[in-house]
């Protein structure tokens, strides 16, 4: 007997981070399509909503979906939107399937976290940067919890490896005025920039920074590379050819991965969305979330949060990135960290990858110092003699 479930799909396909959200929506829709064609015991009907990046709309739409009897919603990209809707999911006892990498330090019983935890994105990046690029970092980010917390984790990990963060700068989400920040970076001449800007702010920064370096005859990619935990292939296209190459990214998926599962996924994605940018980490993440949700619904006796949580624990999936499974203690995913560098063809060359999936450690219990690293005194310089 087939069981039918309506599934909420909530991504901001308009607004400042629309490029990422469209990829996420596409990945989810591709999975829904494949499940429908596979003749699985569950039939999933997506109910797509768009909060347009407005936090109030996230809350309202979550409430509407859950009040309409929907129990599972795949959605959210930013941490601020996830934190905004969690109380609603807890009140109505629904499950939010959150497909994005995030900064950790959370474990709501009403969220299944299928994206990367900080030990799967920022810590491998710190290792790579400290050992191969340099130890002086300049941090830029969008002014909200993702950048604040990811920079904190980054700073502590880099400091523990003998590095130093020379400065941190935050800009509002959507802000594209970077002259002051770029002049501060060029003044400090760090070994690299750690970027936690999202959406249009990030694209504008990459372009402006490359142009400013070029004007000073600095080979930006070689001398002051920019490293991120968010940058994906469709975003490279948004940055544009002038500044597309040489950016480092830590991610659990790149569309250039060489595996039969990925080849099938990339081809299916391209066929399903021929006029859209190619597959990327965000698309794969929501694709994986929907596949795991379907598998759990198929296994569970009922579709309530408790039954589906129990069914998703230890669920394994041969995903495009490799095996993905859900950790039964934290309800975060085992994923395979990788470091890539963008090339002129709009793809990432994979520089390093873990041999097998890594356990999630959302509270960095296994990988952070017992005591918080004290901030170093700022390096002062004479401004008036």
């Amino acid at each position: 007997m087939t069981r039918k479930h309506r599934i909420g799909v909530m991504f901001s396909t308009t607004g400042s981070y629309r490029v990422v959200a469209r990829s996420m929506l596409n990945g989810a829709l591709l999975a829904f399509g494949e499940i429908a064609q596979s003749g699985a015991a569950v039939v999933l009907e997506p109910v797509v909503v768009n909060p347009s990046g407005d936090l109030d709309r996230y809350r309202e739409l979550s409430r509407e979906l859950l009040k309409a009897g929907i129990r599972h919603v795949v959605g959210c990209y930013t941490s601020s939107s996830r934190k905004e809707v969690i109380p609603c999911f807890e009140k109505h006892d629904g499950l939010l399937w959150y497909p994005s990498h995030y900064e950790g330090f959370e474990s709501s019983d009403n969220v299944i976290y299928t994206g990367a935890s900080p030990n799967q994105h920022v810590l491998p990046l710190v290792d790579y940067l400290a050992s191969r690029v340099g130890k002086r970092a300049f941090c830029v980010g969008s002014n909200y919890i993702w950048a604040w917390e990811n920079n904190r984790i980054f700073r502590e990990a880099l400091t523990a490896r003998g590095g130093v963060v020379v400065a941190e700068r935050y800009l509002s989400v959507g802000d594209t005025e970077f002259d002051q920040v770029i002049s501060a970076i060029l003044d400090q001449r760090p070994d690299f920039v750690f970027n936690n800007l999202i959406g249009t702010s990030a694209y504008a920064f990459f372009r402006a920074f490359r142009a400013a370096c070029r004007a000073r005859e600095i080979d930006q990619a070689a001398e002051i590379p920019v490293a991120s935990c968010t940058l994906s292939e469709p975003e490279l296209a948004e940055i544009g050819l002038d500044a597309i190459d040489g950016h480092l990214t830590s991610s659990v998926y790149f569309s250039s991965l060489d595996s039969p599962e990925n080849a099938t996924f990339v081809q299916a994605y391209a066929e399903a969305f021929p006029d859209m940018p190619a597959a990327c980490a965000d698309a794969e993440a929501s694709y994986v979330a929907v596949k795991l949700l379907a598998a759990a619904l198929e296994q569970a006796d009922a579709d309530d949060a408790r039954s589906v949580r129990a069914a998703v624990a230890n669920q394994r999936l041969a995903a495009p990135q490799g095996e993905v499974r859900i950790d039964p203690q934290t309800f975060h995913a085992w994923l395979t960290p990788r470091i890539g560098r963008s090339a002129v063809n709009g793809q990432f060359d994979v520089l390093l990858e873990a041999r097998s999936p890594i356990a999630p450690d959302p509270y960095l219990v296994q990988s952070s110092p017992r005591f918080a690293v004290a901030m170093r005194s700022p390096v002062l310089r004479v401004v008036h003699s």
């Binding site: 709501s108 019983d109 509270y363 219990v365 918080a372």
Partner: protein, 220 residues
């Protein structure tokens, strides 16, 4: 003096003092995610069976159900009001008397019953770090108290040096310089200086009396 926040609780042991009735499952599973194991001491005749001497402040955290009156009998340091390990109060009935009992036990954070998973990390973070902060402040207070007591020795030492011709500032500077050279606090150095002088004065008066005896002997 900077305070170092404890942020990773891995290896911790929670002693959860409550009557088990289901809600504590959320507390236990959330603590496990934070690397903290849980134990439930038996409650015999209304008293939790906890060996206070075996409690280790660096490892143990006591979660005490405020609704179980007098369930934990541990000695709180009378001066610092600190228990031997951090205490987090589990609050059901918000009666002032019950909250007071938890504060008297040295609780540095509260957690509402039934426990909500999302509140555990904040409560643990607060409870342990407030305990460590109060511990550090108490040590600092003791240190300052000791130095306060030593100020009398400093004043006396200054007067002593002034008697040998130095002015007040000069006497103070000399004592400070010499205490730094001896790698002692100013107060301790002054105390020892006064002791040395007192002993020297004593032994010189003993020597004088010996001589007198000699004189007497000779006179005899």
């Amino acid at each position: 003096m900077t305070f170092r926040l404890l942020q990773n609780f891995k290896g911790g042991r929670a002693l959860i003092v409550t009557r088990r009735c289901g809600w504590e499952g959320t507390l236990e599973t959330t603590l496990a995610k934070l690397g903290v194991s849980s134990e439930y001491p038996d409650i015999v005749n209304g008293r939790a069976q906890i060996d206070a001497a075996s409690l280790q402040a660096e490892r143990d955290i006591l979660f005490v159900d405020g609704d179980l009156e007098g369930v934990v009998a541990i000695e709180v340091n009378p001066a610092s009001h600190l228990p031997p390990a951090p205490v987090i109060g589990l609050v059901g009935v918000e009666a002032p008397g019950r909250l007071k009992a938890l504060v008297n036990l040295g609780a540095t954070a509260f957690l509402r019953k039934p426990v909500h998973g999302g509140a555990v990390y904040a409560s643990l973070f607060m409870g342990i770090n407030q305990f460590l902060l109060r511990h550090q402040m108490y040590e600092r207070l003791q240190d300052l108290e000791e130095r306060r007591r030593g100020r009398r020795a400093l004043v006396r030492a200054i007067i002593l040096l002034m008697q040998s011709g130095l002015d007040e500032d000069g006497a103070y500077s000399q004592l400070r310089r010499e205490s730094m050279r001896a790698r002692q606090s100013l107060e301790l150095y002054c105390e020892e200086l006064l002791n040395r002088r007192a002993k020297a004065a004593e032994s010189s008066s003993q020597t004088t009396s010996v001589k007198l005896q000699d004189v007497n002997k000779r006179a005899m």
